[in-house]
Subunit: 199 residues, 2 copies
């Protein structure tokens, strides 16, 4: 096999570093780049560099930010009584995209996972406790993934925060909207029955 | 909805210009970029710019190239008796990746499509005829997509080249390898019977 351009090869190889992009998609993307207008490609390349150069960690929530404090933490119109704890900055974007939550966030930057050598000290937990003590939210919502690590971290955080007289909740488990009981796994069905809600 | 970073927003928007990448994938890619090492991101951005700045059209085949003549056209070890005609430069990469063909290529840069206002004059056909006259290949293989435009272009080219005493063939139509007769469409089944081969 011969490839007529090493620049095309190089770009395709770079694309394969991205998640969900295999050799074939990478080659298709690289060929698409070839056909794009120069300006559009330069603006994509520029956006990549700008992101890496300018993004910082928010001093308050530990999420991503363009300046010292992120736009969500700086937004005084949000509900100060609710603090939503998430695993990583991407989860903030996901929850914001869904809409409906108007409180603040706190990013742990990971989950407790002894097998991977990640204990509570490796996570952004001490800042969370300080924030609970100073901002005194009414409720902490733990929005961690429903996995063993997520559950272990939720239990650990509940043990730390509950004694501070702050309500601690975790997001519900059950059938996703639009799902079919027939195709749901048994663990989800059990959780949905355990978590049943009065009508 | 609030997004904590306009740089992240900007990059995600750039990603949605690429084929097969919707808003959600774009956001996931942008978040992945955040986690990548600076060097890796700069090298991706660099590869994008390098590609756009350096790639040219091969003077011989009309495909892509890093210099005046592409590496395939410059490779004297290939089989000069076979010339494979393709729609675009990407098809060369696809055929080369499959391996097995050792001749040269010629890129039409499109297909005859009167509805889109593309006639023979808009395509890289006169260069093909000149090449046939000078290089005198034994066989021209038309490897165009099995669509109405591909068939029309193949017929047109066969009409031009056959009088030059050069054999003209087109790639076979039939069941793809690994396919199941039960799920094949009827047009493909008919083509596979028409194109049956003696065993």
């Amino acid at each position: 096999m011969e490839n007529p351009s090493r620049y095309l090869d190089a770009l395709a190889k770079e694309f394969t570093r991205l998640p969900g992009i295999g050799a074939k998609s990478a080659s298709r993307l690289a060929c698409h780049i070839l056909k794009m207008r120069d300006d559009d490609v330069f603006s994509l390349a520029g956006a990549l560099i700008e992101l890496k150069k300018n993004i910082v960690t928010c001093e308050v929530c530990g999420g991503i930010s363009d300046s010292g404090i992120c736009s969500i933490c700086a937004d005084k119109s949000r509900d100060i009584s609710m603090l939503c704890v998430v695993e990583n900055a991407k989860d903030i974007i996901t929850i914001e995209a869904a809409g409906g939550f108007r409180g603040y966030y706190h990013v742990l930057s990971g989950l407790i996972s002894p097998l991977d050598g990640i204990g509570p000290d490796e996570l952004n937990i001490s800042a969370l406790i300080k924030r609970c003590a100073s901002a005194r939210p009414v409720e902490i919502i733990l929005a961690l993934n429903p996995t063993i690590e997520g559950d272990a971290t939720s239990l650990y955080l509940a043990g730390l925060i509950s004694p501070m007289s702050i309500a601690v909740s975790r997001i519900a488990r059950g059938l996703p909207v639009g799902a079919d009981l027939e195709y749901a796994d048994s663990a989800t069905i059990i959780k949905s029955i355990e978590g049943r809600v009065r009508m």
